[in-house]
């Protein structure tokens, strides 16, 4: 009797593990998804700025094209260390193909088939067009090789089981590209693309659930600063109703706020990036941000 029970338990476990294994399979982007054509390095440089790659992957705030990695991103799951994505063939992505890069950015999967942690915001980068990813990849390969080794993440159990991310992705990664809204202007759509795709603003400005997924109903409505102390503000019209489009533009240009102050904390490095964009792109982002419907953010604990 006990033996039969034991056999049933083992079979159920094998079944469950097989289902888990299947559901968590890393998916590669097929070659047919690539853009083809000649890369545009100027566009790549703009995407590098709006994507904020240097903010996590550069060796220091001043050496923004030396992408040897090392920035520590603290979280409730442990500490992530941004890897080397320089053009170094051994320590960086120098040997990657374009398909490897697109697979990483859209699917969060490494060239050797492992899941990346969403501290790397592929949940936003997945919206990027194939042409933009081609251009960004080409631009990254023009940057210097840095031979620093990437440091392993320091995560608590069970978050250190990479395969589990496959299940997380089933919930939080819909694999859809950016689809423009035909009822909106080209400028609005450009802003929507930049903010939700490479800009990945919602990744900081939204509250998250216990497994670190964005609570989509409160997207952009702010939340606790996962990296440490303080609060990341609500940037929907609930909080910024009095801002004009120009106020948003000024913010993205130099970090200044309409009430006579200036952003601090992590936003300063964001402004280092957005200040490098063409003014038209900042204007587009401003138009889009001004259009965000008012959303009530999560309750803030006492001050």
């Amino acid at each position: 009797m006990v033996r039969k029970f034991a056999i049933v338990v083992v079979l159920v476990l094998i079944g469950a593990l097989s289902v888990f294994w299947y559901l968590s399979t890393p998916r590669r982007v097929p070659a047919s998804a690539l853009a083809g054509g000649v890369p545009n390095l100027d566009n790549g440089r703009i995407l590098f700025a709006v994507g904020g790659c240097a903010s996590c992957h550069a060796v220091s705030k001043d050496e923004r094209t030396r992408l040897g990695g090392g920035v520590a991103l603290h979280s409730p799951f442990g500490t992530f260390y941004a890897p080397n994505i320089s053009s170094d063939p051994i320590h960086g992505i120098g040997r990657w193909s374009e398909a490897d890069f697109v697979t990483a950015m859209r699917n969060g999967v490494s060239p050797d088939g492992r899941h990346y942690y969403p501290a790397f915001p592929y949940t936003a980068y997945r919206r990027m067009t194939a042409a933009d990813l081609r251009d960004l990849f080409a631009y990254l390969q023009t940057l210097p090789a840095v031979s620093d080794s990437s440091r392993d993440h320091d995560l608590t159990f069970p978050f250190n089981i990479r395969r589990g991310l496959g299940l997380w992705k089933r919930v939080h990664l819909d694999g859809k590209p950016f689809s423009p809204d035909p009822t909106q202007s080209a400028q609005w759509n450009r802003g929507a693309y930049l903010v939700n795709g490479p800009g990945h603003c919602a990744e900081c400005h939204s509250p998250r659930d216990a497994f670190g997924g964005i609570r989509s109903a409160q997207r952009f409505a702010g939340g606790p600063n996962l990296e440490g102390e303080g609060w990341v503000p609500n940037i929907t019209q609930q909080a910024l109703g009095r801002w004009s489009v120009q106020d948003f533009e000024y913010l993205l240009e130099n970090g200044e706020l309409p009430d006579g102050d200036s952003v601090g904390g992590s936003m300063r490095d964001v402004i280092r990036n957005t200040s490098q964009l063409p003014a038209a792109d900042r204007a587009a982002m401003a138009v889009y941000l001004k259009s965000l419907a008012p959303v009530e953010g999560p309750a803030r604990p006492g001050r």
Partner: protein, 156 residues
């Protein structure tokens, strides 16, 4: 008559309560409140008076510019000593507070004030026209921002 008196009394109590509450916890002799107050004064100059001129929202006024830089020169040197290890609190009058990192990296933190004073001293003489003010203000604002990046935290 009675109703009017009652209404007046309610209003008087209300006003007193609000006034008492807003100044109840703010103590200019407390370094935490003092530094909040002085930082706000600097912000009013750099991100208020100067900003309006640079953005064309107020006419360029050399007297106000000189006054502003004089005030900045007076305030900046007072700031470093307002961060002793005994004064780690939060001011009720501010949306921000000093991160614990201030005291974990005191030498690096103090260096930011030296940079601020240097930026003010170097750029005050350049603010003799609208263009000059634009560049001078940018340089001073950068000094403010570079410290705030690491050491200033927004309250919940």
């Amino acid at each position: 008559m009675i109703r009017a008196t009652l209404a007046a009394a309610v209003i008087a109590i209300g006003v007193t309560a609000v006034a008492a509450h807003s100044s109840k916890n703010f103590d200019p002799a407390n370094p935490v409140d003092q530094r909040a107050m002085l930082m706000h004064k600097q912000a009013d100059i750099v991100y208020g008076t100067f900003k309006k001129m640079v953005r064309g929202q107020a006419p360029y006024d050399q007297a106000k510019v000189d006054e502003g830089f004089a005030a900045l020169k007076e305030i900046a040197p007072k700031l470093p000593e307002l961060y002793p290890a005994t004064a780690k609190g939060r001011s009720p009058d501010s949306d921000y507070y000093a991160s614990d990192k201030v005291w974990e990296n005191k030498a690096e933190f103090d260096a930011h004030f030296k940079k601020l004073i240097a930026a003010i001293d170097a750029n005050a003489p350049k603010a003799t026209s609208l263009d000059g003010l634009q560049a001078a203000r940018k340089a001073v604002a950068e000094a403010c921002d570079s410290c705030h990046e690491t050491y200033r935290v927004k309250k919940n």
